[in-house]
Each structure stands twice: as structure tokens, then as C-alpha cells.
């Protein structure tokens, strides 16, 4: 067993640290305050090949492994979880399912758009009455000649009002439940596609979340992703991969919060000495370190199992559950260490705490992760 990152993975971390320090950290607070999509940052991430980095070279990507992708998301999320989220969605939830299920033509067209073409990707599964219970979706797709006609809406779509390419799930046969769900590649320029409500959220203010609406939306027949009726399987496989991305995001948030807290605790003096000199504070940092180390190992392990080609559902759910709950606890502790200052926007830890919460909810709530984990352990 080797716990060392490969030479390439180490360089990805080094490069992403430089990038985050120079390009992300200076604008993170403003991005949150103004709820602004960090367009310039995302363009720069396209320029250096981070957006779509997992896509094989023949389709315009760098052919990076899943651990490299997790490292990139982790490093961005140390300073700005919104930017980490945009990348995680693009790589894991849009490039991922097209790589795994696309035809050669679909890969050539769409993976190139999502890499060299600087087009942002998104994933549209959730509906108002179909969150964790995806089979209750009401978005429908009807085959009419050489195209499908999509009707319905999707909510809470990350990258919703900026993305150009969506992987969308819709019912092609409602009588078959989950076996009646199909996946489609939908471009925002297709007739009948529109963006609905922009969500105002507790955190992740720089991540553009929106409702998307299909009104007799015309989707060419060749944009069916995988076979008809295989959509649910594609969605679940994609979410397995996406969970590694969210684990990496949560890990990054937790690391960022601990780094900020260390800086603060070493300089904030009370009762004549820095608060880092109090054992109570020291023990908090010890617990933070243990949780972060465990979250990192679980996340990288899940990425390594995925890269090996083996089934990784259990590993991904385990990493996502642990890392997201660790991020929530650590950011809450970080605010506590900062005291009154931590509750203000003068310090980044309140933002990190707000950003951490969603990691326990999206791409499968903590409760769903426990269902997945226990199901894998106990069997059916």
C-alpha cells in the first residue's frame, strides 16, 4: 500500500495551490457577498485544462485521474467552495456520464465542447417532488420522429443559468418507474429550453443554481445518452462519482477553516496569551486534524477505487458522508474559535460554515449515504 501521491498528482496540487492563492482567494469574499458567478476564474480554469481535466486526450481533455480531479476541487474549495462546486459539477456530473455512456459521436462533439470549447456542463435530475426519490419525476420525453420532445422542469441545478450542456433525466415510459427513466444531452440553445428561478441560497453564493424548464423542448434522437430506460442507472453511477467530488469539496472547506482558525488562534490574545496556548483550543485543533486526515484518506481511496475500474459505490458514499459531516463540525468549531469575529463577514469562517452545510445535503443527503452504506454492508 502506497500513501504517496504520484508525481503528477503532486504537481496538480502545487499548481492548484498557486492558482487558488492568486486567482481565487482574492475574490472569494466578494464572490459570496455579491452572489457573482466567477466567470473569469472559470475561463482561466478552462485555459489551463482543469475544466474537463478527466476527459481523455482524444476528446480534448488531459486524461487526468480521479484523484487529480479530487485534489483540484479540494484546493479550490479551501478558499471558495462555490468555485469547487462549479468544477465538481462540470467534471463529475456532466463530463463523467458522457465519458461513461456516450457514443463516439457524442464524445467527440460534447466532450470537446466541455474542454477545448469552454462550454460549462450541468446535471439535471432533481425535481420539486423527486429529490432523493428520483423515480417520482414528472419530466417526460416523448419520441416524435427524429427527435424527443421534453416537457417538465428541474430544480436546484448547479451551473443552471450559465451552463451550455446539460445531462437531463426524463421519463420515456412512466409505467416502468425507474426503468422508464432515460438520459439526454441537452444544449441550452435547443428550442424549448429556458432557465427559471435563480435560487437564493444559504451558502455557495458564487455557484449559479437555477430551475430549468422544458417546454416542448426539441432534443435530437441522437442525443439520447445510453439506451432508453437506462437513465436511472446512469444517474446513480454518476452520483457515485459525483460524491467523490463533494467529499473533496467538503475536505477543502474543512482544511480552509482549520487554516484560518490556526492563524487566528495564534494571534488572538486573551488573558495575556494567544488562545492557541489554551489546552481547550489545542484539543479542538487535534480533533480537526484527525477528521481532516480521515476525510482525505477516505476521499482519495474512493477516487483510487474508481480509477481502478472496480465498483466504488460504498467507498464514495463513505467518503462523502464522513467528509461532509466533518466539514460541518469543523467550520462550526472554526466560527467558535473566532468568537464574535467569526460571526462577522470580516473573517471567512462564517462563509465556510454556510458553504459546508450543503455538502450534507446535495448529491445524496447524509441520510441517503447511510442508506447506501448500510445497504452495501447488510445486503438486500
Amino acid at each position: 500500500m502506497d500513501f504517496q501521491l504520484t508525481r503528477e498528482q503532486q504537481l496538480v496540487r502545487q499548481m492548484m495551490r498557486d492558482f487558488t492563492e492568486n486567482e481565487v482567494k482574492p475574490i472569494a469574499a466578494e464572490t459570496d457577498k455579491t452572489s457573482t458567478y466567477p466567470r473569469d476564474t472559470i475561463e482561466k480554469l478552462f485555459d489551463i485544462g482543469v475544466m474537463g481535466m478527466i476527459v481523455p486526450e482524444q476528446y480534448g481533455g488531459a486524461g487526468a485521474d480521479d484523484t487529480c480531479s479530487a485534489i483540484a476541487i479540494e484546493e479550490l474549495s479551501k478558499q471558495c467552495a462555490s468555485t469547487g462546486d462549479i468544477l465538481a459539477t462540470h467534471n463529475g456530473l456532466c463530463c463523467g456520464p458522457i465519458m461513461a455512456n456516450g457514443t463516439e459521436e457524442q464524445k467527440q462533439k460534447y466532450l470537446r465542447m466541455l474542454t477545448k470549447g469552454h462550454k460549462v456542463g450541468a446535471f439535471a435530475l432533481t425535481e420539486p417532488d423527486a429529490g432523493s426519490d428520483a423515480a417520482k419525476g414528472t419530466c417526460v420525453a416523448e419520441l416524435q420522429g427524429d427527435h424527443y420532445v421534453l416537457n417538465g422542469s428541474k430544480i436546484f441545478i448547479t451551473n443552471g443559468y450559465v451552463a451550455d450542456v446539460f445531462v437531463v433525466f426524463a421519463m420515456t415510459d412512466r409505467s416502468k418507474g425507474t426503468k422508464g427513466i432515460s438520459a439526454f444531452i441537452v444544449e441550452s440553445s435547443f428550442p424549448g429550453f429556458s432557465v427559471g428561478k435563480h435560487e437564493e441560497k444559504l451558502g455557495l453564493h458564487g455557484s449559479p443554481t437555477a430551475e430549468i424548464v422544458f417546454t416542448d423542448c426539441i432534443v435530437p434522437k441522437e442525443n439520447l445518452l445510453g439506451a432508453e430506460g437506462k437513465g436511472f442507472k446512469i444517474a446513480m453511477q454518476t452520483l457515485d462519482g459525483g460524491r467523490i467530488g463533494i467529499a473533496a469539496q467538503a475536505l477543502g472547506i474543512a482544511e480552509g477553516a482549520m487554516e484560518e482558525s490556526i492563524k487566528f488562534a495564534k494571534t488572538r490574545e486573551q488573558f495575556g496569551r494567544p488562545i492557541a496556548k489554551f489546552q481547550n483550543t489545542q484539543f479542538v485543533f487535534a480533533d480537526m486534524h484527525v477528521a481532516i486526515e480521515a476525510a482525505r484518506l477516505l476521499t482519495y481511496k474512493a477516487a483510487a477505487v474508481k480509477a481502478s475500474g472496480a465498483r466504488f459505490t460504498l467507498e464514495a458514499a463513505t467518503a462523502k458522508l464522513f467528509a461532509s459531516e466533518a466539514a460541518m463540525k469543523i467550520t462550526t468549531k472554526a466560527v467558535q474559535i473566532h468568537g464574535g469575529y467569526g460571526y462577522t463577514k470580516d473573517y471567512p469562517v462564517e462563509r465556510m460554515m454556510r458553504d459546508a452545510k450543503i455538502t450534507e445535503i446535495y448529491e445524496g443527503t447524509s441520510e441517503i449515504q447511510r442508506v447506501v452504506i448500510s445497504g452495501n454492508i447488510l445486503g438486500k
Binding site: 503528477e8 504537481l11 496538480v12 499548481m15 498557486d18 485555459d47 489551463i48 488531459a62 487526468a64 487529480c68
Partner: protein, 266 residues
Amino acid sequence: MKAIVCVKQVPDTSGKVAVNPDGTLNRASMETITNPDDLNAVEAALKLKDETGCKVVVITMGPPPAEGMLRELLARGADEAVLVSAREFGGSDTFATSQILAAAVKKVGLEDDDIVFCGRQAIDGDTAQVGSQIAEKLGVPQISYAADIKKEGNTVTVKRMLEDGYMTIQAKTPCLLTCIKELNAPRYMSLSGIMDCYAKPVAVYEYNPLQDDPLIDPPTIGLRGSPTNIFKSFTPPQKGKGKMLEGADKATCETLAAELLKKHII
């Protein structure tokens, strides 16, 4: 056509700075980085590659771990790298280092339309001597403090940034340019660059491949060939804060004039 860039691995002075009892840097205990001005030199070479398709070769002299820095530069877009590394070269000062690097540039091959790029100076020694001495030893024109570079055919037009203004001059290639941070913003490593950098060639020039060059004369290389003697190394005292005068009225102007007179500036 080639762009040859001489680079140096230096201690990261933004982190922990460790100093030996004799006042010299304790390099072994410090993190290393690529010398910042050298990254501007690499970027200048990569921009030339973007414009002309020329080949970019990076050269460094240092211990074997310096290969890691060369891989990073290959990941930024350089095509080939050379590590000059031999026990005989150890302890070289700027004079001896420039002898060895000039010999390495000659071995890579300096053709009519090639340019050698160097950073202005390294943050460890701050001498700004190596680039200029390489040019002397190669017998090619040099332009230092390059803040803007244009190449047309075999002519290079460079805007030099000096303390009191700019100077624009031309030189014929092959020539050597030393680059300053105002020249450009170094690019990041790219993902595809990182994935490919370990497949790119890194040549190692030990003593033997260079020993036939007349510049590699044992009395002029390594510690023995280094005429520099360091008598004392110290941190200079910080300059005091400047004095700020506020106001746009006559009295403020008179106060300013009086201050300048007192310091014999006017």
C-alpha cells in the same frame, strides 16, 4: 530557432528562512522554488514559442533534485530540459557558474536566430551577474532588464526598464536577454502539461560531456575557480517609514520644499 532559458532553484524565502552560524543560508532545511525572475524569462520564451513555434529548452545547474523544478517548467510548456550537475561544479560563484552555463548553452547549440533568456537576478544571492557573464562568455550581445521584447527576423527590440526611465535598444540574434517581473505574468502549469512532463526529455550534463569545452577549465570552475570571497553576510536595517505630507496648499508645498532642501535633493 530556439529559446534557451537559464533557470535557478532557490530557497523559498517566503517561508521559514534558515541561516547557518556563519551567516550563509541553510539551503538543506528550506523549501525550494524556481527563482521568480527566471519564471518571467521562461514565460518570455514560451510567448516566443506561441508566436513562432520555436523550441524552448530550459537549463539549470544544481543537485539532482533540481530535476523536479525542470519538470514543472516542462509542464508550463518547455520542450526540453538540461540538468547540469557534477561534483566538479559544486561551490561555483557567479563567475564559475556562468562559465559552466555558457558551455552548456553551447552544447545545446546556439544558432543564428536563437535567444538566451535569463532572469534579472536570483533571490538568494541577488547579484544579477550570471546572465550578463554568460553573454560575455558566449560572445553574444546582451540586453538586461527587459520589460518588453519584440523579435522580427534576426532583430530583437527590447524596452529596458531602468530606475529613472526606459531605454529601447535593438540587438541581432543570437543574443541574451535578462528579464524582470514587469515583463509578463508567468503562466500556470497546464493539466496536459503536467500529464506529459515526465515523458519529455531531461538531459543530464555531467562533467565529462562538457569537459572538452575551453570554458570548462578546472581552475575556473567549481569552488576552486570562484574568485568571490564572502566576508560577511547580514540583513540590512530596514529603511524608516517615509514622511507623508498632506494638503495641496502653499504651506504644504513650502514644507515639502524645505524638507527637500534639508536633504540636499534640491
